[in-house]
Subunit: 353 residues, 2 copies
């Protein structure tokens, strides 16, 4: 008798990037991203990501190369979660709150080949690059132009930008065949811990690990299809707890925002019918102490928080306003949401230090 | 610089069997299975499955061996979805509606080493074994004793039973270290197609494939945690569309039943607060034509149907009663719910014929 053995050769490597292909098929005409006056559908998002991946690829970025980004929760940061791995490269999102010295160290350690820079971070990058050892070649820089009214008059940079984000994107081929990981364990992101207990540690996650974490996160939070997700959790923080990929899996709408306070959040909840959001306990505090809205929400908004549990008074106040609060915990080094959602030994990561 | 490469050696093979370990930790004291007067918690279910796996292992069943079962949706069929792969063996669930000749052919083709038999199928098995070629050794037989009142006076079998289900289980070690698949692609189940278009085809699914299908099915149907799941879909039909494993992943309660009609279903919905069920279009027809309940359900019950879409009148009647209807489609040979939920190329299977 033949051995009972399915054929691995038939199968693709597991990757959360593939969720975008499916979203463009199943939810093609539905809203994927909303940011100020910008609005995309899932088929547009896929097209844009393929164009970007194509451009990155044609300037020589591929397997093993690190592409970094220094930006808040704007559409570019969302798109790069797909476009960078679609070029076969590794995404490295940097915390915009770090100082120039740390940014410089991380860019050197990551051997970043290309860095996308938000207008707000131009002078930070300028300083970080100036701190590079003379023997180290700095990355190509790409400016993410943005006409958000919150942005101050932009300083004329003394550094050279290779291109703008949209310029690079436009040059790309929307029919690009994206580069699938050859193996489940091919790297997809390089994150750095926050350095609370020692110097920041580099953590590499693989396609398989984040495929699993993404599905786990959706299952454990009982995500419905087509949620409206407000980006109050920084995507540079543990890849937004996997929800950039998760929103593609369930065809959600990503409400992007550069900066927020309680008024902004309540305004966006009302305007777009937000159903889900994530945030540190401080976000709950902000919401429950806001004088702008003390009447209950029209529809429940699910909010997941993590880290230390918020105080009972904040929890009960937040819930009395109509928020449904969930709590998670995780470590970047171990697959960040392992304690919350670990359905399986989902973690395949290692520290480079 | 070190190569950016997570270490596969750190990771377990993907398997839906591991969901049971987690359920016993997270939902240990919560109800796992209810059947007539029987009721188990998740920690009891895990203990029972480990005992069974231990017994199967100690009588020599392991890697590559096929264990078959011929039974309706009773707890044993649920438990064997975990216990058989936990012994490292391959589960083969047989359709109780097949005739003796087909059962005989399938048992021979599968080279079944051990067959669990429901009391209702004893004479069927008796006949099937009598049709074995004289050169083929029949499987060990284990009787699943059951005092369900629906069972007729049991005929005294002319065949020898090696043991009873509970007898075998009691001999097992609850501290058994279950046998993890060495590889994602190790086989977990052997199913047979229904033979609509030709002779039944054997289909082997691997641990990885069903891990993915199970998570996909939960995500695509937006399963909440701790649903109450009524087993109106036969588990022998494409492994109950992956929900035996899925219910462990979300800590649901499995309401088992041997046989059903509309009165039974409405009674169980009311008694246990059923939230979810699956079934062929004929089940929807049964529910919407029942004279016993024409008043709307107290709480919505999600029902997923598959195959040909039910007629519009049945759909609207079912929905007007408070059922929320979803529709899926799949093929056993390709990963059964690929069309419904394929988030990724989830299918790793092959036909043995």
């Amino acid at each position: 008798m033949d051995e009972l053995r399915p054929r691995p050769a038939n199968s693709h490597a597991l990757t959360p990037v593939g969720f975008l292909d499916r979203a463009a098929t199943v939810y093609g005409d539905c809203s994927s991203i909303i940011y100020n006056n910008i609005s995309y559908t899932w088929s547009q998002t896929r097209r844009r990501c393929l164009q970007l991946a194509s451009s990155l690829s044609s300037i020589g970025l591929n397997k093993g190369h690190v592409v970094s980004i220094l930006a808040p929760n704007i559409p570019a940061l969302y798109e790069l979660h797909f476009a960078v791995p679609m070029a076969g490269a590794i995404l490295n999102t940097l915390n915009t709150r770090l100082d120039a010295r740390t940014i410089s160290l991380l860019l050197c350690h990551a051997e970043t080949k290309l860095l996308f820079v938000d207008p707000m971070s131009v002078s930070l990058v300028n300083e970080a690059i100036s701190l590079f050892p003379s023997s180290t070649r700095p990355p190509l820089l790409v400016l993410i132009a943005d006409d958000d009214e919150l942005l101050p008059q932009q300083p004329s940079p003394t550094i050279h930008f290779y291109d703008t984000y949209e310029g690079l994107l436009e040059k790309g081929d929307p029919a690009f065949n994206w580069i699938r990981p050859k193996n489940d364990f091919d790297p997809i992101v390089l994150n750095y811990t926050s350095g609370t207990t020692s110097s920041p540690k580099g953590v590499v996650h693989c396609h398989r690990g984040l495929f699993i974490v993404t599905l786990d996160s959706l299952v454990d939070w009982s995500f419905p299809k087509q949620p409206v997700f407000l980006w109050t959790l920084p995507m540079f923080h543990s890849n937004g707890w996997s929800y950039p990929w998760g929103m593609a899996a369930v065809g959600g709408t990503n409400i992007c925002l550069r900066k927020f306070d309680a008024t902004t959040i309540y305004g966006l909840i009302k305007k777009y019918g937000v159903t889900h959001m994530c945030g540190a306990p401080v976000v709950l505090n902000m919401l429950s102490n806001s004088p702008t809205n003390m009447e209950p929400l029209k529809n429940p908004v699910h909010i997941i928080t993590a880290g230390a549990p918020p105080p009972a008074t904040i929890l009960s106040r937040t819930e009395s306003l109509g928020f449904v609060v969930g709590h998670g915990y995780g470590l970047t080094e171990t697959g960040w949401d392992c304690c919350l959602v670990r359905l399986e030994t989902a973690v395949e990561s290692f520290s480079r230090n």
